[in-house]
Homo-oligomer: 307 residues x 2
Amino acid sequence: MPITVVGSVAFDTVETPAGRSERSLAGAATYFSLSASFFTGVRVIAVVGEDFGPAEQAVFDARNIDTRGIERAAGKSFFWQGSYLDNINEAKTLRTDLNVFAGFEPKIPDAYRDSEFLFLANIDPVLQRRVREAMPNVKLVAGDTMNYWIKDHRPALLEVLTGLDVLLINDTEARMIAGNQNLVQAARAVMGLGPRFLVVKHGEYGATLFHGSAPKGKAAERFRAPAMPLEEVIDPTGAGDSFAGGFFGYLASQPELTPGAFRRAMFYGGVMGSFACESFGTERLQQLSRPEIDARFNLFRELTHLD
Amino acid sequence: MPITVVGSVAFDTVETPAGRSERSLAGAATYFSLSASFFTGVRVIAVVGEDFGPAEQAVFDARNIDTRGIERAAGKSFFWQGSYLDNINEAKTLRTDLNVFAGFEPKIPDAYRDSEFLFLANIDPVLQRRVREAMPNVKLVAGDTMNYWIKDHRPALLEVLTGLDVLLINDTEARMIAGNQNLVQAARAVMGLGPRFLVVKHGEYGATLFHGSAPKGKAAERFRAPAMPLEEVIDPTGAGDSFAGGFFGYLASQPELTPGAFRRAMFYGGVMGSFACESFGTERLQQLSRPEIDARFNLFRELTHLD
C-alpha cells in the first residue's frame, strides 16, 4: 500500500570528519521517500524552490516516487548547514534558511487520498496535525519530531501525538517529552500521550520498539533491533529518516500488521539507517538495490540471533 | 570446569536515587564469583581484613564458592564509597580506602592450580600479570580493567593484554585504550594488542562481542546481545562484574567453546548484569535461582529474535 509522507525536501551542506558535501539534495521527506521506495509506493507532500531542478526531480523519478504533491514556489528551497566535526553522533547546526518552507501550506493531491499509510516527518506540529486531519481514513499514521518542537511548541506537539499510531524518536527526545531519565518509564509516559507504538532510536546501539502496556519485567511487548557496527560513518544526516522509511515502508508492504511484521520492520529500519550513513547526502540510498538490503537484513539477523 | 578469579572483595557504601546502602559486601571478585557460581565452580583469590566476618563468609559458602584463596590480613578490607545521584550510569567516587589491599600479594592455593579458566578482575595490572604467569596452563583467560589503569598504568596494562584471550571493557574504555572514537576501529586496535575476543559493554544498550579480524562489512564475527530495559535501576554497582561472571561462567560450563557458546555466553552476561542492578550490593545475586536466570535468558531471546 502506498505511503503519503509530508516533510521537508531541502539542500544540505554538511561537514564530517570524512569530508564536506555542498548543497546536496536532502530533507526528511527525501530520505524517508528514497528509503521507503524499496518496499512500497511513496507519495510526497512538500514545497521546493526554483533551485530544485531536473537533476533533483530525477532522483525521485528513478525510484518511482510520486511527486505531484511537491509544490514549486518562487524563491529558494529549505537549506540547512551542519557540522559533525566535534561529534559524529550529533549535528551542530551552523545555519538554517527556511526559505520557501516558511510559508508552507501542505496541499494534498486528490490522487493521494486513498493512501492507507501516512508519515508525518519532522516539521512544525501545526502542519503535521493539519495533514493528519485532512486524511482521517488512513489505517496507520507514524510521525517524527525533534527537540526544538518538544521544547518550544509542546501544546501543538501534544495534539499531534494524540493522532499518531507510531512515534519514532531518539532517546534524548523520549526523555525530554516524558521529563524522565529512565527509558522504560519515559516510554510508558510517551505512549500515555497517544501513540500505541513507540520506536526509540539509540544511534549506533540500535533501537527499541515499545508497544502496549507491558507488565513490569515482561519483555514480550518490547523489541530491540541492532544497528550495524560501522567501520566508518561518512555522514549520519538522514539516518533517522531513512530508518523511518525502512520501518514504515516495510510495514506498508505487509498484508497484515502482525507482531512479526513490526519486528522485521525494526530490522529494516536499522538496515536503511546504516546505509544512509555510508555516503554524503542521499547518494547511498540512490544507488542501493533490494538484494543489498536483504543481504544486510541477514547480517543483522546473524549479528543478534543465537542460532 | 572451575574458574579461578583474582580481584577485590570489599565493602561499598553506595547512594543512588533509590536509596543508600552502608558497607555492603561488594568488590569485583565477589560480584563475579556469585554470578559465575550459577554456572560452574568458582575459586577466589583475594585479601580481606578483620571486618570480613562469618556473615560475609556465609555469602560465599551458600553458593559453594571456594574461598581458600581469600587471605585474612590484619586491618580493614578494601572500602569504596560512590554516588549515582547525578547519573545512574556513572558512579562518582567519593572515597577509596585500599586498606589491606594496598599490600596485596596474590597467593594461589595448590588446589586451584588445575583451573582451566582464569578471570583477572579489575585490579592493578601488575598483580593481574603475576597471577596470569603463575597459571601458564589455563585454557582461557579473561580480564577486565578500568580508566584509572588505562590512563596511568598503560605499560603494565599492555603487558596484561598480551596474555588475555578475552577482554571485557565498556565503550569508553575501548575508545581510551585505542585512542579512537569509532567503536569498530577501536575494537580492532584493542584486539591487535592481544585479546582474541573483545566484549564491549554498552550499559543499558547491551554489549558487542568482537572476535577475529572481521572483513569490512561482515557481521559474522560480531555479536550484539541486548540488556534488559529496566523499569528501575536500584544500584548499578557490580553490573559489569556480574556480566563477566555470567559470560565466563557459562563458557566454563560448556564442553566446547563454539561460536554458539560465545553467543549464549553474551546473553547470560547481560542477564546476570541486569539482575545485579535490581538490588543494592549483591543482594539480588544472593537470592537468585537458575530457573529465574533461564527465564530471563528466554526474555532476552524474545526481545531480540525475529521469530
